[in-house]
């Protein structure tokens, strides 16, 4: 710092004049600061996004299978006309809802313990313990579940060792969610989704719980509420926006994922897989574009509802 101060000349070098000019025109400086990031995101990201969405108004030529770059509603007509498409959307949405509910149920006790009971040290450990899986490799974690759920994998081993093989078979025999093994059933897909997105639910709930003022909880006790009542009537409603904030992530991420269901689960397509196949092997970009509109619309509705519930303050 001293060298910097000593090096301050009073003459007006070009650099100094530029600096003063910028200081006197804050709007210009803001503009200069914003231009590079906005250009990047506006042109590269939004540009790509709108190009893609525009593709849904093109259609494939029925005979040659080549995309015709003319405005047409044929793709949308086909999209709404085919019940198989609806199956994909409904299946994905149901999975997203199930995963969101399960994540909320598992996340809440962790978050609640972290905020209400853990000491400073314990809290840091737990915090890091949630962040490490969140940031560590997505693929590696999916892969781990393949090892766990495989037919001769860890779950089967434990079930057989503890003589609980019958229980595992019973679970796998449940129609719809069961299957030949955990790694080829809806149940397996559901477990892995829940596992992968769980940290996204824990962190917002922790943030929301931390914002519940201690005085409010004490007041509730002073006014005669039992601990259970305080939890249900005071803490839970105040923490709910955090759960909604977390659900934005768990819901959106489940809806768009195409890797988990293709590695673990039945060979029926989910939304993300369908988009991937349509633009890849099937070469039907217009239909793929139409399919991408679905999660955008669903997320738009979801975000509007979440905003009403106050989730954005909890993010």
């Amino acid at each position: 710092m001293t060298s910097a101060a000593a090096a301050l000349p009073l003459d007006r070098s070009p650099l100094q004049r530029l600096s003063s000019a910028l200081y006197l025109r804050p709007a210009l400086l803001t503009f200069l600061l914003l231009t590079p990031p906005l250009l990047w995101l506006g042109v590269i990201y939004l540009g790509s996004l709108f190009t893609l969405l525009a593709h849904s108004f093109f259609a494939l030529d029925e005979f040659s299978g080549v995309m015709v770059r003319e405005f047409s509603l044929a793709t949308w007509k086909e999209f709404f006309g085919n019940p198989a498409n609806w199956d994909v959307v409904i299946r994905s949405a149901l999975m997203a809802i199930a995963v969101t509910l399960a994540a909320a149920l598992i996340a809440f006790p962790i978050a609640y313990y972290m905020v209400r009971y853990a000491g400073l040290r314990m809290k840091a450990v737990l915090y890091l313990g949630v962040m490490l899986p969140l940031w560590s490799s997505y693929l590696v974690r999916v892969y781990a579940w393949k090892l766990i759920l495989a037919k001769e994998g860890i779950v089967s081993w434990f079930a057989n060792t503890l003589h609980l093989g019958w229980l595992l078979d019973l679970v796998l025999d449940i129609p719809e969610i069961g299957g030949p093994s955990l790694s080829t059933s809806y149940l397996g897909t559901f477990i892995v989704f829940t596992y992968i997105w769980l940290p996204f639910m824990i962190l917002p709930v922790v943030a929301a719980l931390e914002r519940v003022p201690g005085s409010v909880i004490e007041a509730s006790g002073d006014l005669g509420a039992k601990p259970g009542q305080t939890f249900r009537k005071v803490i839970l409603p105040l923490a709910f926006p955090g759960v909604v904030a977390g659900s934005i992530f768990t819901f959106s991420l489940t809806l768009g994922d195409y890797i988990i269901p293709s590695i673990i689960g039945k060979s029926v397509p989910f939304l993300g897989e369908t988009v991937y196949r349509l633009q890849g092997t099937a070469g039907n970009v217009p239909m793929a574009a139409a399919f991408t509109v679905v999660p955008i619309v669903i997320m738009g509705i979801y975000l509007t509802l979440a905003k009403r519930l106050g989730a954005f303050d909890a993010l």
């Binding site: 804050p26 995101l41 490799s137 997505y138 596992y195 931390e210």
Partner: protein
Amino acid sequence: MRSNVKAGWGLKGAALAGMLFLHIPLLIILLYAFSIEEKSFVFPIPGFTTKWFAVAFEREDVRRALGLSIKVAAIATAMALVLGTLAAAAVWRSRFFGREAISLLLILPIALPGIITGIALRSAIGIAEIPFSTWTLVLGHATFCIVVVYNNVLARFRRTNRALIEASMDLGANGFQTLRYVVLPNIATALLAGGMLAFALSFDEVIVTTFTAGQQSTLPIWMLSELIRPRQRPVTNVVAVFVIAVTFVPIVLAFYLTRDTHDVAGSVK
């Protein structure tokens, strides 16, 4: 709002079970990297060996994929640092029309499902007839890394006293000197934390990457192809352990760099 009563067993058990659920799979990966069994996922593993580590690092395809991943992550992080910091500085120092929209725009690439970002970039690359290269990968990665840097730096700016900058200017420093000697030292650890998280995010990204890679193979893409068509499972296990190790270090460092502040790095991915 810490309670002065001890937690009940039910709550403790549920929290512990949840944390085990989060961590056991990672430990299992670690275990399998040392397995002598080559063909299947037999549990418990029949014996321990460290030979797969040597085998994995001899493999030319693994080394090439690793090199590309590091290169892309480094360039994408550098770009994200510049762009994210500029955006954070603009949002912090002034109010302007559409300020709220900027946060939304920045967060959009990670709030929308990755497949949408990926397929959108892919179709744009196709239309512009850009050949797939390291730069098409960087294009995608920098886009979703910006928000990580932006969040970290903005959080730091919000706790920085604006008067510091005025004081620096009053004492005769020009704008560039103020930037060099006042602003940058102030946000240095936030930049470091944001940069490391961006690196970890890019190093691990697969969903957008599959669309912008063409024939190239980053480490996650290599892993994905091994997951779908396994060739030598123990090598995959070793690479998995390596990837965990590479991403753990920056996360733990970022956590400790920003821990004493109110906004801990990484709490918004």
